[in-house]
């Protein structure tokens, strides 16, 4: 149901009047409870101290770039765990005198839990942590706070030292490991080199150059060979066309030439002379003789012909061109043979080079691998050597307390007066709550009570007109009773307030 503020206020006032005893009763109860709580509430003092923590892991700068450290947990939580750890709390327990009456382990456990509950560790800014401790004893508060700070720093320094030491040990171990690896790599490299002499850096290019040269040579020689072959073929064709000897140079030929000559002369003479002329007769005889002679020659030659032996008589002249061709031919044959031999040789060399190249490649890959391992190992090793030296310096620094990153920013101090809620706060709270709680409950009842308490709620709910809203008719007797009741209730409220005020004053004066 929608209610306007003034409607709510009126309804609340009427309801408070209606349930006046309940309201006053609750007012009294709330006040009494609050006053009792105020009286019994333990005094508590708070001690606080702040510490600058520059807690960078020693591993971090030392291992920077070389290794990635695992992500450390949230730092504040870390610090909290250290401070509220069993080690520091145990010592606090001992130093603050809680162990004086020899509590059992279970009791110690309870004490530790209570101290834990009273201690807060908060991060103030980036590097400052604040430790706060609450206790009901001022001296002990101060002492415990101080002890917390001291023990924490002590613990952190010790931890840092051990951390540095372990970092150094780790780096040292790593360095030694890499040294060994490096030695092994070097040895492997050396062995490979000695077993594979060809395998030098650059032998690859050399090989390819040689292969190219050989191929070129083979090609050139092949070309030359082809040329020589062509020349040879040509010479052979020419030789076949040429006669071995010149026929004109035979004796028969000479005779026939003489005969022809003389015949010509005879013909000429016959033009002028008769056959009886002496010259002509002489010539006739001469020709006759020559012919006889020529025939004799022919016969002799034919006689030798079946033996197929060149008749070398003085009259046979060898053909000079033929001779020359024959010479060239044999010369070209020689050249061809030489070229063929050269090609074969070059091919053999090429094959050799190719075989050698295959071996060279497999060796090369291994070499590259070994070299790479070697180089990486060497780099890491050198790096580790540097780091080891730095770690050594860090250890020295720690031992001299030079780079200490923990210091007390604000020394332990304790509040002079108890900072638990004051008695007057309880008193005031009681008075305010004593009014608010009953009003709240009445309001809740107005909202949720199935019984109708508001006239307009009925007309809204049932859509019927409200004929009349009849207030209670107070009879004179009832009014007298009401007056009395109200007086008593007012008295009760006044007494409650007076009681709380009195207690407050007494408390302020320090009696209670």
């Amino acid at each position: 149901m929608q209610m306007y503020p003034e409607q709510i206020a009126t309804a609340l006032i009427n309801e408070s009047f209606y349930s006046r005893r309940l309201v006053v009763g609750m007012f009294v109860i709330v006040n009494v409870v609050m006053l009792t709580a105020g009286l019994l509430w333990p005094k508590s003092y708070t001690g606080s101290t702040s510490i600058v923590v520059d807690e960078k892991s020693i591993m971090e700068p030392l291992m920077k770039g070389a290794a990635v450290a695992t992500e450390t947990a949230d730092r504040n939580r870390n610090v909290r765990e250290v401070i509220l750890g069993r080690r520091i709390l145990g010592q606090v327990l001992e130093r603050a005198g809680w162990l004086a009456d020899h509590p059992t382990v279970l009791e110690q456990e309870g004490l530790i839990e209570r101290i834990k509950a009273r201690t807060t560790v908060t991060a103030v800014g980036r590097d400052v942590i604040k430790i706060e401790y609450r206790d009901n004893n001022q001296e002990r508060t101060l002492f415990v706070t101080k002890t917390f700070a001291d023990l924490f720093i002590q613990e952190m320094v010790a931890e840092k030292e051990s951390e540095t030491r372990s970092a150094f040990d780790f780096i040292d171990k790593q360095a030694r490991e890499y040294q060994q690896k490096l030695t092994v790599a070097e040895e492997q490299l050396r062995q490979l080199r000695s077993s594979n002499l060809d395998s030098r850096p650059g032998s690859d290019t050399e090989l390819s150059a040689r292969l190219i040269a050989l191929n070129t040579r083979i090609e050139n020689t092949t070309m030359e060979l082809r040329e020589a072959e062509m020349k040879h073929a040509s010479l052979e064709r020419q030789v076949n066309g040429e006669a071995e000897v010149t026929v004109l140079a035979t004796r028969e030929g000479q005779f026939r030439a003489r005969i022809a000559e003389l015949q010509a002369k005879l013909d000429t003479l016959r033009l002028t002379f008769l056959d009886t002329h002496p010259d002509i007769v002489q010539l006739k005889y001469q020709i006759q003789d020559l012919r006889a002679e020529a025939n004799a020659q022919r016969e002799r030659r034919d006689k030798f012909k079946p033996s197929d032996r060149l008749e070398t008589d003085e009259m046979v002249v060898n053909n000079p061109v033929y001779q020359q061709l024959r010479r060239d031919l044999s010369q070209s044959q020689l050249t061809m043979d030489a070229l063929k031999a050269r090609i074969a040789e070059a091919r053999r060399l090429l094959q050799e080079e190719v075989d050698r190249g295959k071996g060279l490649h497999s060796g090369d890959a291994r070499l590259v691998e070994l070299t790479r391992d070697y180089q990486i190992n060497r780099e890491i090793y050198q790096d580790l050597l540097h780091r080891r030296e730095r770690a050594r310096v860090s250890i020295n620094m720690d031992s001299d307390r030079q780079g200490s990153s923990f210091r007390i920013l604000e020394p332990a101090k304790s509040s002079l007066s108890p900072n638990s809620p004051r008695f007057w706060q309880f008193m005031l709270g009681g008075a305010v709550l004593g009014v608010l709680i009953p009003l709240g409950l009445l309001f809740t009842r107005l909202q949720f009570d199935p019984r109708v308490r508001l006239a307009n709620a009925i007309s809204e709910e049932h859509k019927v007109p409200m004929a009349a809203i009849v207030p209670h008719l107070w009879s004179p007797g009832e009014l007298r009773g009401l007056r009395k009741e109200l007086a008593i209730l007012a008295l009760v409220v006044t007494a409650t307030l007076a009681l709380s005020a009195t207690l407050s004053v007494v408390r302020f004066l320090g009696v209670l």
Partner: protein, 306 residues
């Protein structure tokens, strides 16, 4: 009243009753809105016409005939005849308002309620049933004070009828506990209506108790006699408002029967007592035409203590 008067009255009543029976048999139930329309109550007119005609001429004729309708002057005289009127404080002690308590908000509220009903009935008298949604909602208080408020007006009278058979309360207003009431009227046909109407010490206000101490069965309300009684009460004095102090609506049968007998119904819901469910079921039992509305009773309000 003298014995003669009583005899006359009784004779008149008996005659009226017989007439009413005949009328009820012929016309059935009276339409409730006839009063709202300001019509004269039709069926009884035939029977009541002779008295009215007699009432219009000089008034001295009325008394011997003992007829129902009496002019305001008679009422005033009747007020003078009251045995002993209670003082304002005595009334308040009994939870009844008094017109002189002008500062009392309840008085104002009841006056307004009365005026509202007067407007509704257009000056006619009416039978008003006051019923609580459940027991303990203070219907008797409302009925009693509503009747008292009607009686404020010197020209009107009121009759409070206790119909709450299981939990009667009207008898508390009467000095004697053993005065005859409804039960006696139903049980004993010889008892006249006038015998059960008792003054309560408030001017112009009369009351009918349940009578006796034994329980009256609810069936009486259904009986023709009850209907006749109501009709005769209504007709006897035109200026008389009849307030029925009804049983809670949780006794649906009784409440429904009574609502049929009455012209208007007021449902009483008390602060911190009635639930919405009860109100809902009470409303469902009542014809919306008769329903005047809900009376929200006992609203907490800080009284003036001076």
């Amino acid at each position: 009243m003298s014995k003669i008067e009583k005899a006359l009255k009784k004779a008149g009543e008996d005659r009226g009753n017989l007439q009413l029976v005949a009328a009820a048999a012929t016309r059935g139930r009276r339409a409730p809105w006839t009063a709202l329309l300001g019509q004269k109550i039709e069926p009884p007119r035939q029977q009541s016409e002779p008295p009215r005609q007699q009432s219009e001429p000089p008034r001295q004729q009325i008394k011997p005939l003992g007829q129902q309708i009496e002019p305001p002057e008679t009422i005033s005289r009747m007020a003078d005849n009251e045995h002993k009127l209670l003082s304002a404080d005595e009334l308040r002690e009994r939870g009844i308002i008094h017109p002189k308590q002008t500062r009392e908000p309840a008085v104002q509220v009841f006056r307004e309620l009365r005026t509202k009903i007067n407007q509704q009935s257009r000056g006619q008298n009416a039978v008003i049933l006051v019923a609580a949604v459940s027991r303990g909602n203070g219907a008797s208080f409302i009925a009693r004070n509503l009747a008292a408020a009607f009686a404020f007006d010197s020209a009107k009278t009121a009759l409070l009828v206790d119909c709450n058979l299981r939990n009667p309360s009207v008898h508390q207003l009467l000095p004697g506990a053993s005065l005859p009431g409804l039960a006696d009227y139903f049980e004993n046909p010889e008892i006249a209506v006038s015998k059960i109407i008792h003054p309560v010490g408030i001017a112009r206000l009369r009351a009918i108790t349940t009578g006796g101490l034994r329980e009256i069965p609810a069936e009486y309300f259904v009986s023709m006699k009850m209907r006749r009684l109501i009709e005769s009460l209504r007709e006897r004095y035109r200026e008389r408002f009849i307030v029925l102090d009804g049983p809670p609506m949780s006794d649906i049968a009784d409440a429904r029967i009574l609502s049929e007998l009455s012209d208007y119904v007021l449902i009483v819901a008390r602060h911190g007592r009635a639930t919405n469910a009860q109100i809902e079921s009470g409303l469902s039992a009542i014809s919306s035409r008769k329903l005047l509305g809900i009376v929200f009773n006992d609203e907490p309000r800080i009284p003036s203590l001076r």
